[in-house]
Each structure stands twice: as structure tokens, then as C-alpha cells.
């Protein structure tokens, strides 16, 4: 199966921090087009293309731009969410390190669409080694007059500033990210007001994921009709998939939306490593559903995965082989959410910890049949009442694993021996 290289077209071909290289490959041509059409038409083109956010939620990109464009005020911001924290996800790192100018170009076009003149890239601390590449990309783009003042003689100004995180998954949530850029703890805000009205520094703001922004230049270069010819009806375009875990060829791959999960694992990635059997697949990172081996013949687009009770999310595919135990994986996921909860709202802060304890108890063979009910009840409560996406996600791996691996839960409750979970009682801290 051959990859469709749209976003990764320049991977390994150009010097990433050098705008001249990017321009030689047709870079900033899309911006040149966008600069000389009016804002409404830019948004209309993105609507026609059907571009949806690639960070996880799949929200239509044009609507975010529309909100900010219609909001009153002269100062507006574009923010690039490069706080790629979802466990198992590397796609933004690959984009940022191989073709950063395409992201800058996407930001500038978004800036033109809502009449914003300042953009921020919020880069996670774990990727701080990418800062020099991004700095060079910005500098060389300004030098080539593709960013900065009076871009290409259009009279439009747009500058991009870099901001760093310091290790907080919750800062990938848009309002928490704003707080962090403002020099505060990264705690999510109550909504409304929504970011399109009051976002960063209380100004109308458009926040997009790295991959979403990288989709914008190709749309303007080749047109929305061409873009719609790739992918599926409701999820046009390509998607970057990070395949990780117990699979032979791990890495970031680009395929049209709607690629088959089974083919991705077995044909593209060479199947399960060490000749083992597939136990489970978790799509969408720690906040995605865990499905069993009989369920993997599925279409990967935003709506199809949602319909099956999971989420495509950021396109992460964690392959888990039969040396593992589902209870141990769920416990690992919950440990993550428990650590990363910011503590602002009670359901996520207390509920996450309690879920971790309950699942841990079952894993260690100390669980009771009533714990399962409590877990399902608690997971649902957290999902319904948490303030932000972190809390909403906590329930997903728990509920899906109970659904898809009921017998595994029974075995642990029956206190059958589990070499993975019980050997040493799991993680000791």
C-alpha cells in the first residue's frame, strides 16, 4: 500500500529551517493566492474543502475562523497547538521537524482570513530540541518576505512568536494553552465565552493543531474540489497516523482518511512483532477506545471511528500484543490521566484517582464484582461532569475495555493468575 504524501511531501527532501528550500518546492504559493482574495472567500474555500481539525475533536476548521472573523475587535490571534501530548502521538513532531514552513504558511493564511496579525506557536517542552529549527524557519520566512511586514506587497502584516510549555498534557486543551501562554498555570477555563470571542489575552482567537494548519496550503494551492477527491465524504484529505507499540514497522504514515485499520497494521507496518498474536488496538492515544482483535477490520475516518464508540483523535494506533494484559494497559492509561489532571474540577481530579485505584484493585486480584458497576458509574459521571476534554477522555479506555474485554475483567475478578498484573503488583512508586 502506497502512502499519499500531501503533508509529508517535503519530508527529508528540504532543509527544514530554510524557507528558500520550501519556496523552491512551491512553498508560500498558497499564501500568495490567499493574500489577494478577501477574508470571506478564504473561509468559504476551507468550508468547501471540508477540512476538519486534526487534533482530536474533528471540528470544522472554517467555523473556528468564522467565529473569530465575525467577532468584534481589532486585535485577534492565531495559535498553533504544538503541545502534542497524547501518548503515542508523534505526527506533529515529524511535521515540525521536516516541514515547519508549511505550518507557518497555514497560520498566515488563517491570519489573513480573520485579520489577525500575530500568531503564536505553543511548543511542548519535550520537543524543545525543535526550537532552533522553528526559529530558523521563521527568520528565513521573514527574510523571504513571506512573513513579517507587508507580505509580498499585499499590505498584510503577520508575525509569528514561539512559546514553550513545561510539561503538562492539559495544556493541549485550548483554553489551558491560552492560560499557559499568559504566564499562568495551565488550567482550562469555563466556557462560554468561547475562544472565537474571548481567547488568548481575552481577544478573539483561532487555535488549530499543527496538522490542521499544514492542510491549509495544499487546499489553496490545488483547490477545494481536488482536496475533496482525497479521503472520505465527511473527512476529506489525508491523515497522519502514528503507529506504535508491538508492531514490526513503527512510525508516522500518511494515508487518505478512510484507510483500513487492519491493512495499516498488517500490510503497511508488517504485522505484529516477534511472531506474536494481536491482543488489542487503542486508537486515538490514551483517550481512545481499546478494541479487540476481531474488531480491527474498520475504516479510519473521523465519523466511522466515533460510530464504533472510539475516536480517531490524533490518529494514533497503539498495537498491543498477547504478552500484555488489558487491565494493565487500562491501569497505565488511568495512571496517566490521574497524573495529568490539573486538579481544577472535582470529577476529574478525584474521579480519575478513584478509577485508577478501582482498576488497580481488580488487576491485582483484589477486586469484587461490585467494583465493575462502580467503575462504569464513575466513568460515566466523570465523562458527563468534567470541565474539559481531559476528564471526558478518562472514561473512554475504561468503558471501551470493559465492553470489548469483558472476559479479561472476569478473570481478574475471579482471581485467576495474571503474570502481567500480579507478578509484582504492577508499578511500584
Amino acid at each position: 500500500m502506497k502512502e499519499t504524501l500531501l503533508l509529508l511531501r517535503n519530508r527529508g527532501k528540504i532543509e527544514p529551517g530554510n524557507a528558500a528550500d520550501y519556496i523552491a518546492e512551491g512553498g508560500y504559493e498558497a499564501l500568495k493566492k490567499a493574500l489577494f482574495i478577501n477574508s470571506k472567500d478564504i473561509i468559504q474555500e476551507l468550508k468547501a474543502a471540508g477540512l476538519r481539525g486534526r487534533g482530536g475533536a474533528g471540528f470544522p476548521t472554517y467555523r473556528k475562523l468564522e467565529f473569530a472573523s465575525d467577532a468584534p475587535g481589532h486585535v485577534k490571534y492565531i495559535v498553533c497547538n504544538a503541545d502534542e501530548g497524547e501518548p503515542g502521538t508523534n505526527k506533529d513532531r515529524i511535521l515540525l521537524s521536516s516541514d515547519p514552513c508549511s505550518i507557518l504558511e497555514g497560520m498566515a493564511i488563517a491570519g489573513k482570513a480573520v485579520n489577525a496579525h500575530v500568531g503564536f506557536i505553543y511548543l511542548r517542552a519535550e520537543y524543545s530540541y525543535l526550537l532552533p529549527i522553528l526559529e530558523n524557519a521563521i527568520k528565513s520566512s521573514v527574510k523571504a518576505n513571506c512573513l513579517g511586514r507587508d507580505i509580498m506587497g499585499s499590505g498584510f502584516d503577520f508575525e509569528i512568536k514561539l512559546r514553550s510549555g513545561a510539561g503538562a498534557y492539559v495544556c493541549g486543551e485550548e483554553t489551558a494553552l491560552f492560560e499557559s501562554i499568559e504566564g499562568k498555570r495551565g488550567e482550562p477555563r469555563y466556557r462560554p465565552p468561547f475562544p472565537g470571542i474571548k481567547g488568548l489575552f481575552n481577544k478573539p482567537t483561532v487555535l488549530n493543531n499543527v496538522e490542521t494548519l499544514a492542510n491549509i496550503p495544499p487546499i489553496f494551492l490545488h483547490g477545494s474540489e481536488w482536496y475533496r477527491s482525497i479521503g472520505t465524504e465527511n473527512s476529506p484529505g489525508t491523515k497522519l497516523f502514528t503507529v506504535c507499540g508491538n508492531v514490526n514497522r513503527r512510525g508516522v504514515y500518511e494515508f487518505p482518511m478512510g484507510v483500513n485499520l487492519k491493512e495499516l497494521i498488517y500490510e503497511v507496518c508488517g504485522g505484529i512483532e516477534d511472531g506474536r498474536e494481536l491482543l488489542a488496538v487503542q486508537t486515538g492515544g490514551a483517550s481512545g477506545a481499546i478494541i479487540n482483535a476481531s474488531q480491527i477490520d474498520m475504516t479510519l475516518d473521523i465519523d466511522a471511528v466515533s460510530a464504533s464508540g472510539g475516536r480517531l483523535g490524533c490518529g494514533t494506533i497503539l498495537v498491543i500484543d498477547d504478552r500484555n494484559c488489558i487491565l494493565d494497559i487500562v491501569r497505565n492509561n488511568l495512571d496517566f490521566f490521574r497524573d495529568e489532571s490539573c486538579g481544577k474540577c472535582t470529577p476529574c481530579r478525584e474521579g480519575g484517582t478513584r478509577l485508577y485505584q478501582l482498576v488497580g484493585r481488580i488487576a491485582e486480584g483484589r477486586g469484587s464484582i461490585r467494583d465493575l458497576e462502580t467503575i462504569e458509574d464513575l466513568a460515566e459521571t466523570i465523562r458527563l461532569t468534567s470541565l474539559c476534554g481531559l476528564g471526558h477522555s478518562t472514561a473512554v479506555p475504561v468503558a471501551s475495555s470493559i465492553r470489548n474485554f469483558k472476559s479479561c475483567f472476569w478473570e481478574h475478578i475471579d482471581k485467576d493468575y495474571c503474570p502481567v498484573c500480579c507478578e509484582e503488583g504492577g508499578y511500584t512508586e
Partner: protein, 169 residues
């Protein structure tokens, strides 16, 4: 009491002067706290009460705000830390590739548990969430460098370098 012990310790005055210089560039600009903290982290590995006080004074913001900020983010610490911070990925993609064995090797080799610092203040062992380099899991990050495809043998070789030499950033 515990808070005092881990927050109130001496920081060399020469370091405080350097931190003050960094913070003074952003006086009256509280939104630049992250930038100040990240630059200051090149000078001091952890933020004692004295360091926090200097930052607060120079930026003209409350010291509690500095403390609250530092304690929120995983990569910042008020507790003293070693010269090399070894961050072991705790997330599932590393977990399913044998991260537990790597943790055991690290703990045995350095004679400390996760979360602790060696007596010579050279190493701190910490868990961290996904490092985003899952194609080479299991992985660790030592200060700003990443190492992947770890085995119990390869991680020993890597740590040995850090025991013997000073590795440049």
C-alpha cells in the same frame, strides 16, 4: 514541614544574580513568566524559595504566583535536582515495549528509586508522560537529549557515559 525542607534551601548567590538579570528583562510583563523560568532553568536545575523570591521581585509579581506556576508544570521543580534529569517515559507505547525492565535497570544502577536524586547530586530519576518518540520506544530523555530502542544493556551503556563524563547540552 516537608514543604519547607524541599523549598527552603541555599542557592549560590552568583546564581541568584544571574537569575535576577534574566527576570529583570521582563519587569511588569507577567505573561513572560514561562520564558523567564525556562531561561533560569539553564542556571539553576530547581527553584528554591530564594530563586522564586528573586524572580518575583524582578518581575514585580507575587512570589506565590511563581511557586504556583513552578509546581504546576512537570518539568519544573522546587525540589533540588541532579545535574542530569533522567526522564523515563511512563506511557503505554513504552510500557508495552518493556519500559518496566528499563526502570528496574536504572534504579539498580543508580541505587535510587524513581523520583529520587543520587547523593552526589548528579542524577535525578523521574517518570514523565509520552516523549513523542514512540517509533523508538522504550525511550528516555536525559536533560534535552533523547535515547530510544532501549534494552537493559544499552541503557547501562548510556548511563555509564553520564557517570564518567560531563555531556554537553
Amino acid at each position: 514541614m516537608r514543604l519547607e525542607n524541599s523549598y527552603s534551601y541555599k542557592t549560590a548567590s552568583s546564581k541568584l544574580v544571574q537569575v535576577a538579570e534574566i527576570a529583570s528583562r521582563y519587569m511588569g510583563r507577567p505573561e513572560m513568566l514561562m520564558k523567564v523560568i525556562i531561561q533560569a532553568q539553564q542556571v539553576v536545575p530547581a527553584f528554591s524559595e530564594e530563586v522564586a523570591a528573586v524572580i518575583a521581585r524582578e518581575m514585580e509579581i507575587p512570589q506565590t504566583q511563581v511557586y504556583s506556576f513552578i509546581t504546576f508544570y512537570a518539568m519544573l521543580s522546587v525540589k533540588p535536582r541532579g545535574k542530569y534529569i533522567i526522564r523515563m517515559c511512563k506511557s503505554a507505547p513504552c510500557h508495552v515495549k518493556g519500559a518496566r525492565d528499563i526502570v528496574r535497570t536504572l534504579e539498580k544502577m543508580l541505587h535510587i528509586r524513581m523520583g529520587e536524586t543520587t547523593e552526589d547530586n548528579r542524577f535525578t530519576l523521574e517518570y514523565c508522560p509520552c516523549l513523542g518518540i514512540c517509533e523508538i520506544s522504550p525511550a528516555v530523555m536525559i536533560n534535552n537529549r533523547t535515547y530510544g530502542n532501549l534494552t537493559t544493556e544499552s541503557v547501562r551503556t548510556i548511563i555509564k557515559q553520564y557517570i564518567r563524563e560531563d555531556i554537553e547540552e
